[in-house]
């Protein structure tokens, strides 16, 4: 499968990435070659094969419903770009 400029721009928007105009063509060609390599798998017959999401196919373990985490706001917010009154600040959110 090949991709074009608009595919890349659409995917970039979903991923919240900006692509500079002068690098779109190069990116399209690199991603096209990656997808070309990936497409080698398409010829393999996988009818009746279940997808393998986890190599060990184990089952989820359950955690007891216990409060184990104390308030660590100060330590956890030490890395935050902007906080005020215990809140993380971001440019205005519009509903």
């Amino acid at each position: 499968m090949s991709v074009d400029r608009s595919d890349i721009e659409q995917v970039a928007e979903l991923a919240r990435l900006r692509i500079e105009d002068n690098s779109v063509d190069e990116l399209v060609s690199k991603i096209t070659s990656i997808l070309g390599m990936i497409d080698q798998m398409q010829a393999t017959n996988t009818d009746d094969i279940e997808p393998l999401a986890n190599p060990l196919e184990a089952s989820q373990r359950l955690r007891a419903d216990v409060v184990s985490e104390a308030d660590q706001r100060e330590a956890l917010q030490a890395n935050a770009p902007a906080t005020e009154a215990g809140l993380f600040l971001v440019p205005k959110v519009i509903d």
């Binding site: 798998m41 997808p51 986890n54 190599p55």
Partner: protein, 487 residues
Amino acid sequence: MHNLSVSAISRALAAGDFSSVEITQYLLDRIREEDTAYNSFISLAGDSALEQAAEADLRRSKQSDVPALCGVPFAHKDIFCTENLRTTCGSRMLENFVPPYSATMVEQMRAAGMVLLGKTNMDEFAMGASNETSYFGAVRNPWDTACVPGGSSGGSAAAVAARLVPGASGTDTGGSIRQPASLCGVSGLKPTYGRVSRYGMIAFASSLDQAGPMARSAEDLARLLELMAGFDPKDSTSIDAPVPDYAASLNDSIAGIRLGVPKEYFADGLHAGTAACVEEAIKTFESLGAKVSEVSLQHSRLAVPVYYVVAPAEASTNLSRYDGVRYGYRCADPKDLHDMYTRSRSEGFGEEVKRRILVGTYALSAGYYDAYYRKAQKVRRLIKQDFVENFANVDAIIGPTNPSPTFPLGEKTDDPVAMYMEDIYTIPANLAGLPALSVPAGLVDGKPVGVQLIGNYLEEARLLNLAHQFQLATDWHQLNPLTGGEQ
């Protein structure tokens, strides 16, 4: 002193030949002087390392039964969160990130008294096979500083090879421990998926990521793995199985062990020199009593395509949390929310990371999911089944770690697909979740190459036993890049 292995330092500390503070100070000084040539460290622990060393010395003086590796210096790949020590994951995004917590594995090694010297360089978010994608600059191979050390755990591999540390942690999502170990002439083990906790290890591809040790001998790997492995209730994918004493079985005889040689691993693309070294290694195993037979991993040729769907897909969403809200890089003067997301992420991530996010997002997007992600997970099962069937007949699989010896910096940076082929022999074990290791198996034009052993689930002890017996019979692991390949 810098040539001493993990095991040798442990013995010397026990014998009182030197203190942990002495060797820690020595290695810190050595890193400060020598690492300018390799750039294998991103951050040094400095004073806190010396404090940990002093603590370890005190513990040795007061306690009779200290853990064997108490006081032995060590380095962590900069993908593991270390409390109060900057953790960058090789990215501008986390350039100033200082975690208020440590990875479970880091805590386990700390509890055993190991001394953290610093954090090693890596490909950004572990995405790369040459260590050239690090925001903190490329790492250079101690065997030839014009060449790459491999990646993504290239900093750990180079630091161990250059005798800056006796051992270091790595992570292996598609070969990121084994391939740099091969290119730098050191030993590296990727355990069974889930054997070492992923908690506090910054995620690249959740269903593939696995941490493991890198050192200069299989014996050291055994001692380190014993500390790293174990069940962690904080990681849902962690295996709840006891951790064996890996060192105890190192000296078992390997006579009669059945080794399978996958014919697909010796097809086009394998460097003749590398092939010769691996064939020589196989002969050595035969001489030690192993029974060698040819096997087929017929779907392994699809491992790279499958991996470059699964890993970028998982990565694309694992990396969504880097949004400039709670930690990490935020662009200057965002004009609105969308601008903050887009610019923070575009400026904070490097080119390879962005490329993989795009590929992964594409593979998961509406209309492509079935053809890419779902298809890849189906082929992944076929790849796993090949191994399961073969392990009914053989005890381990042997082959090259990667296609060729190290290559010059910049050689493959413009051709991502060529770079991706570096992991053609390592990726199958990740997709299947199997343990695998690489140990040095020779030199090609003065550059090291490794041989890979892949084992059945949770059979790390068998792999370490094989590797140790091989290292008793060969000297490749003792070659020293600093002395032109002499021991």
